[in-house]
């Protein structure tokens, strides 16, 4: 039944009349005219004469030919506009000592070939293209009487400085993160991957937003089948706006009902570079520092780049700790409920008595108690996220004090519950991937309900359910639980254990890379 539900939804997805309508709207109402004045009017009506539209008409050098510059204020590099474009048009053409031809098309050619000292120039005669370019930060140079327009690449808006990724801090490792500018982001990847086989396949998504999207991969490593699948899915994206990589992620993911993220997002260029070298694909989107990595496995989500930068013993121990944290984050309140309400015989006697003592006088059953505490913790987490940093800390302190201390002394919850909730919270913060931590937070409630109804039996059933789901889950068609299952023992060196770097001579086999070995000699151990 669920499957049918899914397929109907997918049908809806593909049969959307969205793009057709949008394309109809886009068809050019006016073709490029040779008269400057007419073109300016057309552009103004097309764009609705917005406040930031910059139109500057001027004479070319000492001739009597008019030209006009069209750009969006703020999107263009104003230094370049003045020094390389305006001043050259006005002065340089006469200083070159050549006689200026009269024919507008020849003037245009002269401007294109000799006058403008800008690295990236294009000619166009399609008004729609011209408007698109202007809107994405280029300068359009119209010459009166000419049938073409010069498009000067001069994108240069103010961008945020590179900062250390907030959500993925490391003690050891590079401090730079991606920014909202896609060009900066490709630079960061290119600087780490100086392989001639690195590919950046660009396209645009979003019918109206026209957001630049780049699929990055290393051609000699990546599995071509997977690459085609990624490209196919991206081609199906059919939506008018794409503000964040989350739109792309949700459009191309395998299972929208799963709580688990099937595509990883990161702000760390080193992580993306490492993924590319493993044979994965990255998707960069303009306007967001979050770069998508796909396909992924649950192991990857529990790994941190630091595992590789630290020595292998430390890396291995950190991973063990994280797998434990994953288990605790989901199941510790559930275990508390199950043990306290159903199986006190499983608790060591002294602990059982002291839990009973602390719960003496607590008016709620353990389930309600835990539900209250866990919900409060979620509230605190959400509230702390929204608030500015200084206030956020206050929320933490107030929340911690109120819930930790006051609630206990008021007899609403037991101290043991506070310990359990604190342990759960800390465990869920130890998960390196935020979307995965969210998945665990959701499943925690499921496990708690199951524990309240069936005790340990329910917890075990929940675990089995989660495992069945994970086994069935895929990321771009690749098994999510690999290399646990399907079993790929050769990949286990870099799973829960992180074997010494010198032992890791093969790329993850689950990704079917073209080039399997990571060493120059290609010998395998």
């Amino acid at each position: 039944m669920l499957r049918r539900f899914l397929t109907t939804r997918r049908k809806k997805k593909t049969s959307s009349p969205f793009i057709k309508k949008a394309l109809q709207q886009q068809s050019p109402p006016v073709l490029l005219s040779t008269r400057l004045q007419e073109n300016m009017e057309t552009i103004k009506t097309e764009l609705g004469a917005p406040h930031d539209l910059l139109i500057r008409s001027l004479l070319i050098g000492n001739t009597r030919h008019m030209c006009a510059i069209v750009a969006i204020d703020g999107l263009v590099n104003s230094d370049m506009l003045h020094d390389q474009v305006l001043s050259h048009i006005q002065l340089m053409i006469s200083m070159a000592g050549k006689s200026v031809p009269d024919e507008p098309q020849t003037i245009l050619g002269l401007l294109y070939e000799e006058v403008l000292s800008v690295s990236e120039l294009n000619k166009s005669s399609n008004l729609i293209d011209i408007i698109d370019c202007v809107l994405s930060g280029d300068i359009a140079l119209f010459v009166d009487g000419a049938s073409e327009v010069i498009i000067i690449d001069s994108k240069g808006w103010k961008t945020r400085a590179t900062e250390e990724p907030v959500s993925e801090g490391v003690v050891r490792g590079p401090r730079d993160g991606f920014t909202e500018n896609i060009r900066d982001n490709t630079v960061r990847i290119r600087r780490r991957v100086k392989d001639k086989n690195l590919r950046f396949d660009g396209s645009y998504v979003g019918v109206r937003s026209k957001t630049a999207l780049i699929i990055a991969y290393i051609d000699s490593i990546v599995d071509p089948e997977m690459l085609n699948e990624v490209k196919r899915r991206i081609a199906t994206i059919d939506i008018d706006e794409v503000e964040e990589s989350g739109f792309v992620e949700q459009w191309i993911e395998d299972d929208f009902l799963s709580p688990f993220p099937q595509i990883h997002n990161t702000e760390r260029p080193d992580k993306v570079a490492a993924a590319l070298f493993q044979g994965r694909v990255a998707i960069l989107l303009d306007g967001t520092p979050m770069v998508l990595i796909l396909p992924i496995t649950i192991g990857l989500l529990l790994h941190s780049p630091e595992d590789y930068y630290d020595r292998w013993i430390a890396g291995t121990l950190a991973r063990l700790l994280r797998y434990l944290a994953a288990f605790l984050a989901v199941f510790s309140p559930a275990f508390y409920i199950a043990l306290v309400t159903f199986h006190p015989g499983l608790i060591p006697s002294d602990l059982a008595f002291s839990i009973a003592a602390t719960r003496d006088g607590v008016p709620f059953p353990a389930f309600v108690e835990s539900l209250m505490m866990v919900t409060t913790m979620e509230l605190l987490q959400e509230a702390g996220l929204r608030l500015p940093k200084p206030i956020g800390q206050t929320v933490g302190i107030v929340g911690g004090l109120v819930i930790g201390d006051a609630a206990v002394s008021a007899g609403i919850v037991s101290p043991v519950m506070v310990i359990v909730v604190a342990l759960t919270a800390i465990a869920s913060f130890a998960i390196p991937s935020y979307p995965l931590a969210i998945a665990f937070r959701m499943l925690r409630f499921l496990a708690m309900f199951a524990a309240a109804i069936f005790g340990i039996y329910g917890v075990v059933l929940t675990f089995i359910m989660i495992m069945i789901h994970l086994t069935n889950l895929t990321s771009i068609g690749y098994p999510y639980l690999a290399p646990f299952t399907p079993q790929m023992p050769q990949d286990w060196k870099d799973l829960i254990l992180r074997a010494p770097i010198t032992f890791l001579r093969k790329r993850p086999g689950s990704l079917h890379p073209k080039d399997e070995t990571r060493t120059r000699t290609g010998d395998s151990t």
Binding site: F5, A356, R359, D360, G361, P365, G411, A452, I453
Partner: protein, 403 residues
């Protein structure tokens, strides 16, 4: 479509709600029973009353006085600071509830009419059965029946036989712990420091003993006002009936003979001065001479190791000759201990608590098949057998000083 989704949701909800929650009891609502004692009722008043009320009711042969020790968790928190609204009114951490009847299950359920917290047996630590109950035929088995049969109780609870009233045992007021049963439970585990008590015997072990055709020994417990003494042992016959007690020294000997010595001490005299050995462990091996079925000869060899812990004799312990003499003296003492025990068990009680029968079963099975019915019963071959002891003591260390 919608109908199917709704019916699926309904199905899942009903399934969980109908099947779930049935045995849910909050931890603070459980009455943790940590100790149970079984006595013979002191007076027969309640029995008479019951008879008057319903003379035709089915009745058991023996009425039991059962005392439950239930933990009051609130009393465990010292000073009881912070927690308000607790339900305990006294500082005591336990509550003893006695009740009598001819069925222990009846008594257990009768408790529910008297306390708010239902008895919960999974944390039962000790079961103390009084000498009187144990001495009567079959009442001991009746007394432990419920604890073995109840799936909610654990086989790991320790069993003791009390000299005198069993109730007195869990009524002691130990200074070191708040709950007497937990105190007794810990005392019962001190076998590695003192070999005058038997190693812990659990209800599960008792179950095994009862089903086997051997005699067996259970630890003896004696109550005083503020403390208990877990020392000595109670010997049960093949009919699962208490036939006598072994004293502390005899129990020590029994431990040597069964190979259960983990620690403790041996005393010996050297030229009128006392020297004490701290035992690190002992091994035993049994050799049986089965040529004459009617008169099997057992030789129990004991090897014991230890350290000199006290020496009132000013002697050079590094002298090998002196060491030999000392070892011989300790061995002699060891043999004496064992011989005393054998005399009591073999000749007085006539019960094979040493486990010689099981030795025969394990090592001379073809013989055992012929004589298993005549071992302790029938022809009483155990009584007719001969038991010899040879002890060897090795001093491994002379302690921190020499003289």
């Amino acid at each position: 479509m919608n109908k199917r989704i709704v019916s699926l949701c309904l199905f899942v909800t009903l399934l969980t709600l109908v099947a779930g929650c049935w045995d849910q009891v909050q931890i603070e609502e459980r009455g943790f029973v940590v100790g149970v004692t079984i006595d013979v009722p002191r007076s027969s008043e309640t029995e008479k009353k019951a008879n008057q009320e319903a003379p035709d009711k089915p009745k058991g042969k023996q009425r039991f006085l059962m005392t439950h020790q239930i933990v009051i968790p609130g009393g465990l928190i010292s000073g009881s600071q912070g927690i308000s609204g607790g339900q305990n009114t006294t500082d005591e951490a336990f509550l003893n509830l006695s009740s009598e009847g001819d069925s222990l299950f009846e008594v257990s359920r009768e408790l529910s009419t008297r306390i708010s917290r239902n008895p919960f047996y999974q944390h039962l630590k000790i079961l103390v059965v009084s000498e009187e109950i144990a001495r009567q035929a079959s009442t001991f088995t009746d007394a432990v029946d419920i604890l073995l049969r109840d799936p909610d109780s654990r086989r790991s609870s320790k069993v003791f036989i009390s000299k005198g009233d069993a109730r007195k045992v869990i009524e002691v007021r130990p200074k070191t712990e708040k709950i007497p049963s937990l105190y007794i439970n810990s005392v019962g585990e001190n076998i590695n420091k003192n070999s005058r008590m038997l190693p812990e015997v659990t209800i599960g072990d008792v179950h095994q003993y009862l089903l086997n055709q051997y005699s067996f020994a259970l630890p003896r417990i004696v109550a005083e006002k503020e403390e208990v003494k877990v020392a000595g042992s109670a010997i049960f016959s093949t009919k699962n009936k208490l036939i006598g007690f072994l004293g502390e020294e005899e129990t020590e000997g029994l431990n040597f003979l069964t190979g259960h010595v983990k620690g403790g001490l041996l005393k010996a005299k050297y030229k009128d001065n006392l020297i004490v050995l701290n035992i690190h462990g002992a091994k035993k091996s049994v050799e049986a001479d089965i040529r004459d079925k009617k008169r099997i000869k057992f030789t129990i060899k004991i090897q014991c190791e230890g350290t000199i812990f006290e020496s009132y004799a000013k002697i050079d312990l590094l002298n090998a000759a002196i060491m030999q003499q000392l070892q011989a003296a300790f061995a002699k003492e060891n043999e004496r201990l064992c011989r005393d025990t054998i005399r009591k068990v073999h000749q007085d009680l006539k019960a094979d608590a040493i486990g010689l029968g099981s030795h025969l079963k394990q090592n001379h099975y073809s013989l055992w098949k012929q004589i298993r019915d005549d071992w302790e019963q029938g022809q009483k071959l155990f009584e007719k057998s001969e038991i010899h002891v040879e002890a060897n003591v090795y001093i491994r260390n002379i302690g921190g000083i020499n003289k």
